[in-house]
Structures are given as structure tokens and as C-alpha cells.
Subunit: 358 residues, 2 copies
């Protein structure tokens, strides 16, 4: 089945996010762990800045969880740069076994899903899943040299500078991973690279409806459903497509790309990039979950899978969306869990003493 | 732990390989499922040829296993083109839920390892893992336009046209997946993109020694140890590095890049590319395993994780290697397995009859 339900429900121990100055001026500014003053991060090229940004995010997530790098069994990640170099070079600095991924802007949910599978099945104790993007490196790789100052069409989006990472663990926290759905690649024939929201919306619709069906839920069962970076137009298309399936996305639905920027900013349809859902998940969404303001959340990161070469060769843009369902553990269960944990610690200590005595 | 040991040992049901005309003239020509006469596959661009090649490989593997596309739960794959477009567009054609990966030329082992984890843990019945490369698309993306006819330095390698895919399944076959090790990213400071064997050898050494340590084995315990695409120089460096750790790679060791071409061909240090270990695994190695000529094999796909941008910006080349251990099921176990299977079929039939009678 396309949806994987977790019996043990691995814990999401902590999330960490860093964003650039523009994103830091947006409505979520109080939720981010760190807001860059200088988006070059004192590096000589924007590609090296992006790499430094991801490194800071991963290390930040590990630190915030009270862990050391050596406690992390695997690093799941990818990014938008050709050959996912930000992630690979970050993995080189960290020395953690590396599972390199590519799902364009759907990477946050893909890495979270695989990370959860590893912890769920006892293959790891602590893993880190994360990604980021940098406006300036994405812009010059996918579009035009920044110096040209090209005009942008109204349907375009703004690749965010920022990202986030989560620690999935078998150590208790207030947030658990309930299920994950890996998406199918869909293509409704959009060829305009300045309208990626429209290209990705059908994939989001396919994955959300598949997830709901397999979980036996309706959109109402979620306190919050977040798509990755469909932007204003793309999320309107998604709402329409869902309505055709008699699934109503109401006030509990928002797109991370629409949430991240202030409405007065000239970012056209809103934010995009792998870092978009990564930074919003690992700030606003996780904090709301940890407090119990959200009891159940569906994160649906969305990716457009074209390259500059496929666009130049006249191909249309395939989209993908991966979904991860998260839940807040209510206090009752939580106390129970704490008791279980204490019991486990006591048993382990007793066993260790027995061993020593032998 | 970096090495994942499979208790249920998922089956490798079947492998399928296609190679180009030059590779088809090599010493392994009798083992490939299909040898292309025309490496354009009648497509208008080499990027579209590569995509068609991967599609043919994936469908070939499914067909050869007696399955339909709808029997496959997930497709694990990636390739060398920017944004892994060969895999993404193949996933679009197939409609199978897609887990996009990037590990450069280590993709075959990475996809095989993740695929095995899914089947091992009951998350899927049948999955396909595969990758390919095309000389002409890789050459013009990573190096120079083909029309330039540039000279190549003696340490360079030749990206193969070809690839392979495996079906990992819970249906019995003669080959099982025993364990997998996800590699760490290592970098010994090689910056020469025409000497990738040297850049990847330390990663291969790290992963092999880690795998051997965690499995409690020595190189002698394997009938065959295959690295992905270190080439002649890279595999000599690996042998040296291993000797420093007092691990001797003997006659049971070979590099897929050295195996694939005839010695008279002007391919310098040998073959490379994600398709290299993919095509050799899914032809020669699997056929030898299925016959019992090899009882235990370690596949170590090796990847160089740079991009043209990192090279232009003066970065050195990080390497990665992922390892998958495969074993032949000897006749005794095999018969037992067959009996179990027959028993299972009988039980299922009985249960079905009971249901009908109710």
C-alpha cells in the first residue's frame, strides 16, 4: 500500500529552522530558531552559503535535541542544487552515514518518511532529516544570473532562503509520526516553469486523497493540513481539484509558500523551494503540535521534477507530493509513556547491576 | 549501526539489464538481457534516450519476473542527470509511487538497500530498484559537448551506456538480500574530475571494512566482492587502502568498471556511471548467484558526489559507497523453502474454501 502506517509511531524529538532576512520579516518570524542577518553566511559563493546554511540547520537540530553528532545513526537529505551538493558536502562534514534523496521541493516529507521507517523498524535510534534552499543559488541555477535583474511573470514564486531539519527518535517527545504516503508522479501537461504551483497541485491532490482513503479519514480530522509550496494559485487549484473528489479543504488548510512571506512583499504567488515546507514544519507547525494547539497535522511537501534541460527540450513538468502525518500525544498517553520509560530505565539499571554482580 | 542485517532476508526475484553497443561487445556480452544496436533509442536527444533506456529496463525487470506494473508497490531510483530527470520521467510513465534517490554512481546499492528494507519490514510485496546512465548525456552534462571531440587524460573513465534493475520481493527466488551498509561521505582531497576512481576508493574502503566488521566476516567469506566503478587505478588504490587495514582483497575482488569493457577498447581506466554496477549486478553477478556459482556476494556501488559547479568553485570530490550483501540459497534450504511455500499455498486455498463455504 502507498501509505505506511507506523505501529510504534516513532517520535519527532525536535525540529530546527533557519531562514533568511526576508523570510525573517514574515508573519512566522517568532517561530524560527534563527534568522540570518547576512544571507551570504560570509561565504564566497551562494552555493557555499547554501551548504553552510544546511550544515548549521542539521547541527542546530542535533544540538537542540541534546544529542551529539555521534548519536545520529543516519542523515536523510537532499536539496535543489545539481547533484544535491549542499547535502553531500554537509554529510561529508558531519561524517554521519548518508542516504541521499531527490524529490525537489518534496524532500522534507520524503526524508521524514524514510527516517521514520528506519526508527519504526529498529534500524536506528536517532536520525536526522532535513533540507534547505537559497534564493540566490536556486535563481542562478534554474533561471537567470541575478545580475540580469530579469522581470518575473505574475504566476512565479520566490525560492526561500532557509530550511529545517527534524530529529526522528525512539526517545519520547510530544510529537509522533503516525503514517506516511509516498506519492506518484503526475503530469497534467503544464510546461511553464514560471507556474510550478499549477504543475504540482495535481500531485498534491493525488497524495492527499490517497492518504485520506488509506487512513480512513476526512480533511476535517486534521487540525492542520499544509502543502509545501503550491503558492497562491497552486493552492487554489488544489482546493478545486479536491472538491471534484468531494473532499473539502477548509480553514484548516494552508500552503507553506503562502504562509512564509508578508503580504506586502513582492514575492508574486509566494514562497517555494525545498526549504519552504522544511522551515515552516520545523518552526510554526512543530511548535503548535508540541503545545497541543494542533492535535493532528498532515504535511504534504510538493515537488516539481523538471530540470532546465527538460524544459529546454519541450517536456512538461511532472509533479510529486509526499505526505507525513504527525500527532500530538495528549497528556494522558504522555504520562503513561513516561511511566513506561521510567520502568524501562529501572529495569535496565537492575539488569546492569545483575551483570556487574555476576 | 551503519549495517542493517535482514532477519527475513527479502528475495531478489530477478534482475534485468540493457547496455549499449560498445558495452555489448565486452566480455560480459552473453550475460546482458538486451544489447542496443542504436544508442539513440530513436529519440531526438540523448537525455530522452537515457529516459527511454531506464523505462525499458524497469519494465523489462517487471516483465521478466512475471509481474505487472500494478504489482509493484514502489520504485526506488535515481540517475546522474541534473534533478534525476530520467528516473522522475520514468516514474511518471509507470505511475508507481516513487522514492527518488541521489547517490551518483552508488545509486544501485542505495536503491537496493532501501527496497530491501521496505520488503523486509512488510511495507511492500514487490518493489523495483534500478538506475542507468548514457555516455552521451553524461558527457555533455559533466564534461564537454560531444562535438568538440576533446582529448581525455589517462586517468579518466568512460561513462557506460546501460543500466539494470532488480525486483525485491517476498516471493521466493534463489537469491536473498542478507544485509546492507549505508556509507559515510569521505574526501581525501582529490580535486581532479578526471580521476574519480581515486576520489571514490577511500569511500569504498570505509564501507567495505565497516560492513565486514559489523557482519563479523573477512573478504575470504565472499565468493565475489564487486565495487561499482573505481576503474583500474581506483581499484588498485582500494586494494592498497584495504591492505593498510590488514584486509586482503584477492581474486574474489573485481571492479564492475574494469569488467565491462574489452581490454582493447580505448576507455582509459574503464567504465563508470550509475549504470555500471547496475548492469553488471543485474546480468553477470545475479546469474552466477542464481546458479550457485557464487554463494555470497558483496556489491559495493561507489559514487563521486561533486557537481560541475563545485569543481568550478575549487571544491574537492567527496565519495560515497553503499554495500549490499547477497546470498544464494543452497538446495537444502531451497527445498525447505519450496515446501514452506507449497504449504502456504495449500493453507491459503483451504482458507479460501472455508470462506466460500461460510
Amino acid at each position: 500500500m502507498q501509505t505506511i502506517k507506523f505501529k510504534n509511531k516513532p517520535y519527532l524529538l525536535n525540529g530546527y529552522s533557519i531562514v533568511g532576512p526576508l523570510e525573517g520579516k514574515g508573519p512566522l518570524h517568532n517561530y524560527f530558531d534563527y534568522i540570518l542577518k547576512d544571507d551570504t553566511l560570509k561565504e564566497k559563493t551562494f552555493e557555499k552559503s547554501e551548504r553552510k546554511l544546511l550544515q548549521d540547520i542539521i547541527v542546530g537540530a542535533i544540538d537542540k535535541s541534546g544529542l551529539r553528532v555521534s548519536d545520529i545513526d543516519f542523515f536523510f537529505g537532499g536539496d535543489l542544487l545539481n547533484q544535491i551538493v549542499s547535502s553531500s558536502y554537509t554529510a561529508r562534514e558531519l561524517g554521519i552515514p548518508f542516504v541521499g534523496l531527490y524529490s525537489a521541493c518534496a524532500t522534507m516529507a520524503e526524508s521524514l518518511a524514510l527516517a521514520s521507517i528506519f526508527v519504526e523498524n529498529g534500524l536506528a535510534n536517532n536520525v536526522v532529516a532535513g533540507t534547505c534552499t537559497h534564493f540566490s543559488s536556486a535563481e542562478r541555477q534554474y533561471r537567470f544570473p541575478l545580475e540580469l535583474g530579469n522581470q518575473r511573470p505574475p504566476t512565479s514564486q520566490w525560492t526561500i532562503t532557509g530550511g529545517g531539519a527534524s530529529i526522528i527518535s525512539n526517545s519520547p517527545s510530544k510529537i509522533r509520526v503516525v503514517a506516511a504516503t509516498f506519492g506518484r508522479v503526475t503530469d497534467f501537461g503544464i510546461a511553464d516553469v514560471n507556474n510550478m504551483g499549477a504543475a504540482m497541485a495535481p500531485a498534491a491532490c493525488d497524495t492527499i486523497s490517497e492518504h485520506l482513503k488509506n487512513m480512513g479519514r476526512s480533511p476535517k480530522d486534521y487540525d492542520f493540513i499544509a502543502t509545501g509550496d503550491l503558492g497562491k494559485l497552486g493552492s487554489e487549484i488544489l482546493i478545486d481539484l479536491m472538491e471534484h473528489q468531494k473532499l473539502v479543504l477548509g480553514k484548516n488548510y494552508a500552503d507553506c509558500g503562502c504562509m512564509i512571506y508578508d503580504k506586502t512583499e513582492r514575492v508574486f504567488m509566494g514562497g517555494s523551494g525545498a526549504g519552504c515546507s522544511a522551515s515552516v514544519l520545523n518552526s510554526y507547525i512543530l511548535q503548535k503540535l508540541a503545545k497541543g494547539d494542533f492535535k493532528r497535522v498532515l504535511l504534504v511537501s510538493t515537488g516539481a521534477l523538471m530540470s532546465t534541460t527538460t524544459s529546454q527540450q519541450g517536456d512538461t513538468i511532472p509533479g510529486i507530493a509526499h505526505a507525513v502525518e504527525l500527532e500530538y500525544i495528549n497528556e494522558k498517553n504522555d504520562n503513561l509513556k513516561d511511566k513506561e520509560l521510567k520502568q524501562k530505565v529501572v529495569t535496565t539499571k537492575l539488569n546492569n547491576k545483575k551483570k556487574e554482580n555476576k
